[in-house]
């Protein structure tokens, strides 16, 4: 018989840690999609023979700053002292992935907005505003300035595309590193979480883009890419589990949360079955039969991407080092 009695009964900590909730899970999901959109948009502009994109594809880059703002709103809502959020930008803490993330998020805005602007202008050219009317002189002044900025951006298009590619990757990876560097939470404590979050984010982004009226060529490209990404994600998930299973006692009991514990059913049904296996088969069948990828598999991938964040956020906090963890 072992009986534990603790006089500590703190909100958010007892009986098991739950400092982060739906806000963080949603932010991680949206951040992953933003990362993926930036990587895909960057790659599209780095491609050697850029064929004109569909209107939807040309406008999709705007979702990067939009969804990021939504995600950052959730992050802000999670803060216990939200009006101290500016403190993130008073310092750079090299050992804190969250500090890296704060500065990456800041850099993502100008880079993603600039590329979205160029992408939109390439698809929808022509004059920027009305040429006459009561505000014509102001418009003229404004459009001249904007045209100047646009010219500069077009002249540095490869650099801008590369910056989107790199910042998108950094955004996708840092969220995983943030959780992965916490030795106190064995379920998260894996260097594979960074690449896992990036690949899962790119897969979610491909699925998110497939929801819009893209051209057939774009749909086939995204469907094929997503197929590869799902396979890579499955490989990373497998390696993550092998890593935990072959590490110490704390890691093994953390893994037990998803292999024979309270998170097992949700993990295997939502993340693995709904989010990976079913869309993998569906996309493979679609491509095999020469069909254009539809939206059903994409919706499943998005559900799986959200479930992965949700379950990792909650299960990770339930994992720990305390000897009493084994008793619970």
């Amino acid at each position: 018989m072992t009986e534990l009695e603790s006089g500590r009964n703190h909100l958010l900590i007892d009986p098991s840690l739950h400092v982060w909730g739906w806000q963080i899970a949603l932010y991680l999901f949206l951040g992953g999609i933003v990362a993926g959109i930036m990587v895909f948009t960057g790659l599209r502009f780095l491609g050697r023979t850029p064929r004109p994109p569909s209107l939807a594809m040309a406008l999709i880059p705007w979702f990067a700053p939009l969804l990021l703002s939504l995600g950052m709103l959730f992050l802000w809502l999670d803060l216990e002292h939200p009006f101290n959020a500016w403190r993130f930008y008073m310092v750079f803490q090299v050992s804190s992935p969250m500090s890296w993330g704060a500065w990456i998020l800041l850099a993502v805005y100008p880079s993603s907005v600039a590329l979205a602007w160029v992408s939109t202008r390439e698809a929808l050219g022509g004059p920027l505003g009305p040429r006459d009317g009561p505000w014509s002189s102001l418009w003229l002044w404004l459009t001249r300035r904007l045209a100047g900025v646009e010219g500069w951006l077009r002249a540095h298009l490869r650099g801008l595309a590369l910056s989107n590619l790199l910042l998108g990757s950094a955004l996708g990876i840092y969220t995983g590193i943030l959780l992965g560097t916490m030795a106190a939470r064995p379920l998260w404590n894996s260097p594979l979480l960074g690449p896992l979050f990036l690949v899962s984010g790119m897969s979610s982004a491909a699925a998110f883009m497939l929801l819009y009226p893209l051209s057939e060529r774009e749909r086939v490209f995204l469907g094929r890419t997503d197929l590869t990404l799902i396979l890579v994600e499955m490989g990373l998930l497998f390696l993550w589990m092998v890593g935990l299973a072959s590490a110490g006692a704390a890691s093994q009991s953390a893994l037990a949360l998803v292999t024979g514990g309270p998170f097992t059913a949700s993990f295997w049904s939502f993340v693995v079955a709904v989010g990976l296996v079913v869309p993998l088969v569906a996309e493979w069948v679609e491509l095999r039969h020469g069909q254009v990828p539809g939206r059903s598999a994409a919706v499943l991938v998005l559900i799986g991407g959200f479930a992965l964040r949700w379950i990792l956020v909650f299960a990770g906090q339930a994992s720990g080092w305390s000897s009493e963890m084994a008793l619970m």
Partner: protein
Amino acid sequence: MKGPRYAMVVDTRTCVGCAACVIGCKAENDTPDGYSRDWIHSLVAGEFPRLRMTIESRRCNHCEKAPCVSVCPTGASHVGPGGTVQVDPEKCSGCKACIAACPYGARYVDPRSGAVDKCTFCWHRLEAGKTTTSCQEICPTQSIVFGDLNDPESEVSRLLKTRKWYVLQPDAGTAPKHFYLE
């Protein structure tokens, strides 16, 4: 490291789990309702009537390699004087990364300020020239000893040299400066 390196030693043989340390801390540091910077942790193991009980007075371990400090994005959690781990509430955004990073559950959000709070080793008392923490002062069995590890003549150094001791979750790699005597 030059200068003092403060640590705490708790004797689990003499501690009776009366929780005077909890009350003393609460009175000294005015922690909010439902929260305390220290707490009693007791484990009973065995089969009746052959039982053994381990009682630990727990708090922040003021780790040498404090994960709460390295994870903090604003510098609010920092290594203070004497190697103690401190929180500057003015800089804290309440992101709670330090709470997730602490393997000991020693931190909480003070609902009055929204900033993270925890044991300071009664730093305000040391600054005022006292040499004891409030939990140490109130302990009726004198099971709590606070002192300087870098001073070979200090009580903590003497106890750690002469008694068998352990720290909590050493494998978490945090190098705690809070010791328990067996």
